[in-house]
């Protein structure tokens, strides 16, 4: 059975999203820009009217306004774009159960075996395009082929609002004449290396000996060769929650640090972010790994096994302990990172631990030494878990920065009061 794979690519996604809720942007040059007020931001997405005036993504706002003085600038609203993207993925799911998001604004959709429903792939693409236009108010381009790579290349060929078929038998006429830097997966550096050895078009790349490419780029060289020849065995796979094997975050420090204490607040922040992400995936990790990159770029990683957790406090405490043990004294560090791994499903019925109970009771500091651990003295992990769940809910509703730890506040204004 021949595969039918579509790549649906939203055109000028951010600004199209803005246009969908603000009709006054229709037909005039407009762009979403980092910080339009300060004139120091950069263009994140320009609409086609603006592109006609030579505006490009990543241009500074100042440059853009020089090119197009009447340009309307809109502040980015990433939450809104994420919401639109989610709607898009749901909409695509109505056409086929196999949808793989490639980025916020594009996705592959596998229509193999749907011949009985849609007479031709083009007709299916037309239906999808109309539907997206009607329900999301956003234009898109669709590429059609028998594999993911060719579908992506096809979608790039006609923008905006284009439907393009690119079947393997059309490669020689449609794909090969294109310059090599137009190929999906080839960035400017790779393109420079290829042009340096005389490979200018995708056709040149397809004719090269694969050994040459694998010598130059390793395994990805072979993939380049296959792609240039229209071969891509990758299947459209749905992202699954179970794929999460580890959650790691790291920060390159603004200034080299000389001891774990200097990065304490950074570690708290990293631990909180990791914990929140783990809770979102309903996972608990039982391995904490730290990364320390020294100013000479040498890297130390260390890990320890812990009881399954998704609590920021636990992650921070273990990470901090590891850092303290393994931080080479008198060395300056440029990057620190924490990873939570070895996931298991979150346990609803939580096993109580002795560490949940009041610390002073455990250390016998009570006047009544043999005092029973009271059920109402259950401090620690249990309360923290409820606290973290509440904070998650608040962040979910009002945004990530609405609530934070006191220790993470930059100006501790509360103390001045």
């Amino acid at each position: 059975m021949n595969r039918v794979i579509l790549l649906v690519d939203m055109n000028a996604f951010f600004i199209s999203c803005e246009t969908s809720r603000d009709q006054s942007l229709v037909g005039i040059p407009a762009a979403v820009a980092g910080d339009p007020g300060k004139r120091t931001g950069i263009i994140l997405a320009a609409n086609y009217e603006a592109r006609a005036r030579n505006l490009k993504t990543a241009m500074t706002v100042a440059q853009a306004i020089r090119l197009c003085p009447e340009l309307r600038l809109v502040k980015p609203d990433h939450d809104f774009y994420k919401q639109k993207s989610k709607q898009l993925m749901q909409l695509l799911n109505e056409f086929s159960p196999i949808v793989e998001p490639n980025s916020i604004d594009e996705a592959w959709i596998d229509l193999s075996g749907c011949e009985k429903i849609y007479s031709t792939p083009v007709q299916a693409a037309e239906l999808i395009m109309t539907d997206i236009n009607k329900r999301l108010g956003i234009p898109c381009s669709i590429g059609i082929s028998s594999n993911k790579f060719l579908a992506k290349m096809a979608a790039e060929m006609r923008k905006p609002q284009g439907i393009t078929e690119l079947w393997p038998e059309q490669i020689a006429s449609l794909l090969w004449p294109l310059p090599v830097n137009n190929m999906y997966g080839i960035g400017s550096k790779t393109a420079d290396k290829l042009t340096a050895i005389g490979i200018k078009t995708i056709g040149d790349l397809a004719a090269v000996k694969p050994k040459l490419l694998s010598d130059m780029f390793g395994r990805s060289g072979l993939q380049l060769y296959n792609h240039a020849n229209g071969i891509d065995p990758e299947t459209v796979t749905m992202p699954s929650e179970n794929e999460v094997k580890s959650i790691g975050k790291s920060v390159t420090l603004a200034k080299d640090a000389n001891s774990p204490d200097e990065v304490r607040t950074i570690l708290i922040k990293l631990a909180d972010e990791i914990a929140r992400s783990a809770r979102k995936h309903k996972k608990q990790g039982s391995v904490i790994r730290i990364t320390i990159k020294y100013s000479d770029f040498s890297i130390t990683t260390r890990q320890c096994k812990i009881n399954p957790t998704a609590s920021g406090n636990d992650i921070f405490q273990h990470a901090y302990q590891l850092m303290t043990c393994h931080w080479k004294t008198n060395s300056s560090v440029r990057l620190v990172g924490i990873t939570l791994a070895n996931f298991s499903e979150e346990i609803k019925n939580r096993q109580l631990t002795l560490f949940d109970f009041d610390k002073c009771q455990l250390h016998g500091m009570h006047s009544d030494k043999h005092k029973l651990i009271q059920t109402n003295s259950l401090h620690g992990a249990d309360d923290r878990r409820r606290l973290e769940e509440t904070i998650d809910a608040i962040k979910q509703k009002h945004g990530k920065s609405i609530i934070t730890r006191g220790s993470l506040l930059e100006n501790k204004e509360c103390s001045k009061n």
């Binding site: 019925n349 096993q351 560490f355």
Partner: protein, 367 residues
Amino acid sequence: MKIICSRERLMEAISIVQKAVATRSTLPVLDGILIEAGDGVKLTGYDLETGIECNIEADVPDAGSIVINARMFGDIIRKLPEDVVTIESADNFAVRIECGSAHFSIKGQSAEDYPKIPVVEDAEQLKMKQHLLKDMIRQTIFAVSTDESRPTLNGVFFSSTDKTVEMVSIDGFRLALRRNEFEEDLPKMSFIVPGKALAEVGRILVSTQDETIEIYPSRNHIMFNTGRVKLVARLIQGEYMNYRSILPQTAETTITISPAAMMAAVERASLVISSEDRRYPVRLTTDDDDILTVSASTEIGTLREEINVSSQGSKIDIDFNPRYFLDALKVIDEDEIAIVFNGNMGPCVLKPLDSDEFAYLVLPLRR
């Protein structure tokens, strides 16, 4: 070096010292067993944490020493055809192993490279019956923590005062305590033995009535000596958790029960809890004074079982991890025990009816 000994004895000694042989060491000589022949023959395995020496009777026509790869040595001796083995090493560390009509020739390593097991200076010693220590180990070792973030809990806390020896292990979710009264006064000492080393001690000990073992703790190491076998382990340093304050002194509910009946019921409940999915609890309830209901309900199915008990205090309805209960119930030798509950979030303790010989504390699962 040349020795002549019994294949069976040699095999026994190899399997004892092999437990301390390093498996993935950066020091190649640690993959081997050290054989030292003088008055008798001594085999040694040592992974820099735990060292085990075992003496065997042998004829020693030629004193000397050699190191042989532990796995190969064990495999060869196991497959030998007859009961008398001759082992002979030459100058270039070549080793000949001969038995009946089988003649092996293998490469050994220099004994000079083999690290020395720390000498535990004969400090105060504790002497006890092997079968007693074997039991005490069996009855506590299951609750040793494997969580590396609290190193002191990775061992069994051992203490002696007056006439009492106590062994305690805690993994954060439960506690196992075993106490034994002696007739004579004991030296006052306390230390934490790594769980792995203590498990090996348990395997070396015999269950017969008369054999004894001597225990020599020093500041950093501890030696267990049965005469034939010596085990030296590095002690875990640090302060052990104050377990006395954890053990509840009050009881909201006390039931008297046959541990065997309870174990059987919890084992049956475990049948509907799949081994991969440990999220599901076993539920213990009392409605009536004389009935304890053990139940479990999962995607696979349900179990409900009633056990006759005698119960005092308030009614209970508590969830537990069945494994924690089973581990404790398995090592209890009594016919009847008391189980004390303290509400559905408080610790539960299994203990003897009229002594303080043991206490197994288990924390519930929060609903």
